[in-house]
């Protein structure tokens, strides 16, 4: 791939666009429903909102086949290592969407039992406020993330391809 210093040629930009398009249009989420946000996440995948329109209908139970981890719900201190392990098992490129108040900041549960934001455990690409966010709020987060991927360069999390 073209290095950062030189402008990529026509072939490379077209390839990049194609790869980005493929990544956005088949971004399979890992099912990581932890609390009531998971109900809204399931509702987003159901017929009335239909994540299949964006190629995301398959909620993979195996992290190996998933590209996007939607952390839906409060993450307890005991769940945090599991969350990290699931994230580590996912294959690059991977993204994390923190759904709702509890996953993003701990929400109203400011106590010893909960992780005050999953960005202490995994790198988060998108935060969706709400308690819980409705399907359309979640879809707004997903679509914004897809646009970020479309505009971005092809690289892995370390910045190298």
């Amino acid at each position: 791939m073209a290095s950062q210093s030189t402008a990529p040629g026509i072939l490379m930009t077209t390839l990049e666009k194609g790869v980005n398009w493929a990544r956005t249009q088949s971004m399979w989420p890992a099912s990581f429903g932890l609390a009531c946000c998971a109900i809204e996440m399931m509702g987003t995948g159901a017929a009335h909102n239909d994540l299949a329109r964006f190629g995301m209908e398959i909620f993979r139970a195996s992290p190996r086949q998933a590209d996007l981890m939607i952390v839906a719900g409060r993450v307890s201190q005991k769940m945090a290592p599991v969350l990290r392990q699931v994230y580590d098992q996912m294959v690059e490129p991977k993204w994390v969407l923190s759904m709702g108040a509890c996953a993003s900041t701990g929400g109203m549960f400011n106590n010893y039992a909960l992780v005050q934001g999953v960005d202490q455990v995994v790198p988060v690409d998108m935060y969706v406020p709400g308690c819980p966010p409705g399907p359309q709020s979640l879809m707004h987060g997903i679509l914004t993330l897809q646009q970020m991927i479309m505009d971005g360069k092809i690289q892995n999390s370390t910045g190298v391809l």
């Binding site: 108040a101 993003s104 406020p129 409705g134 707004h140 987060g141 970020m148």
Partner: protein
């Protein structure tokens, strides 16, 4: 002929999808068409103004005190006597809400004595950075014509600015003007402009109960 119905019985099931085809899809096409929210939907907050342009917030910090998630930070300051910002003694010169902490329970709306803070139907608040989720006075305060301010990610193509400029996205959760004894009293308007809030259905339609239990 029972052998015939036994034969056709399983085939009847195949008529179900044929019937469903005629009904069409139920899917809401979200980015193009946004669902109309219920009247009492709890969305993003706004800080309102009086019709003459003065701010309603008097910096009393009751919203911050009642917030179960501790996501509101308010600082009050004495009004400058020659050019007051709010009609009260003080005004909230710092007003911050962490939308990622907020659980949208609207207890701040209930607690506010001047109905300065209300909730809108705006729901698209996704951010890539935790700092961007902290809405300050700049984002929360409405314009002088009652238009809610834009979110920080206003450059996102998904944000429909025309929708933000419309006044019908406003709501009041449990403000006093929703109760029947306040009916007809101008305390709050659906669009933060001048006018009168229509009483909600059931508030005054001859329900015989008195307001004693309303206090409890």
């Amino acid at each position: 002929m029972s052998w015939l119905s036994d034969l056709l019985g399983p085939l009847k099931g195949f008529l179900v999808p044929l019937r469903q085809i005629r009904k069409g899809p139920v899917t809401r096409k979200y980015p193009q068409v946004k669902r109309v929210k219920p009247q009492r939907f709890h969305g993003r907050h706004t800080l309102n103004r009086y019709p003459n342009g003065m701010e309603k917030c008097i910096g009393c910090e009751l919203c911050a005190g009642v917030c179960p998630a501790n996501c509101i930070y308010v600082r009050g300051k004495d009004n400058p006597p020659d050019n007051p910002v709010s009609p009260g003694e003080r005004w909230g010169f710092v007003y911050e809400i962490n939308m990622l902490r907020c659980i949208f329970c609207a207890m701040c709306v209930e607690a506010c004595p001047t109905q300065a803070i209300t909730m809108t139907h705006l729901f698209e608040m996704s951010v890539t950075n935790r700092d961007d989720a902290i809405y300050t006075r700049t984002e929360l305060l409405v314009d002088r014509d009652g238009t809610p301010n834009y979110p920080p990610h206003e450059d996102s193509p998904l944000t429909n600015l025309e929708e933000l400029r419309k006044g019908d996205g406003w709501m009041r959760a449990t403000s006093p003007s929703g109760r029947r004894e306040y009916e007809g009293i101008v305390a709050w308007t659906p669009s933060a402009r001048t006018g009168e809030l229509p009483a909600e259905r059931g508030q005054s339609s001859g329900t015989p109960q008195v307001s004693e239990d309303a206090d409890g």
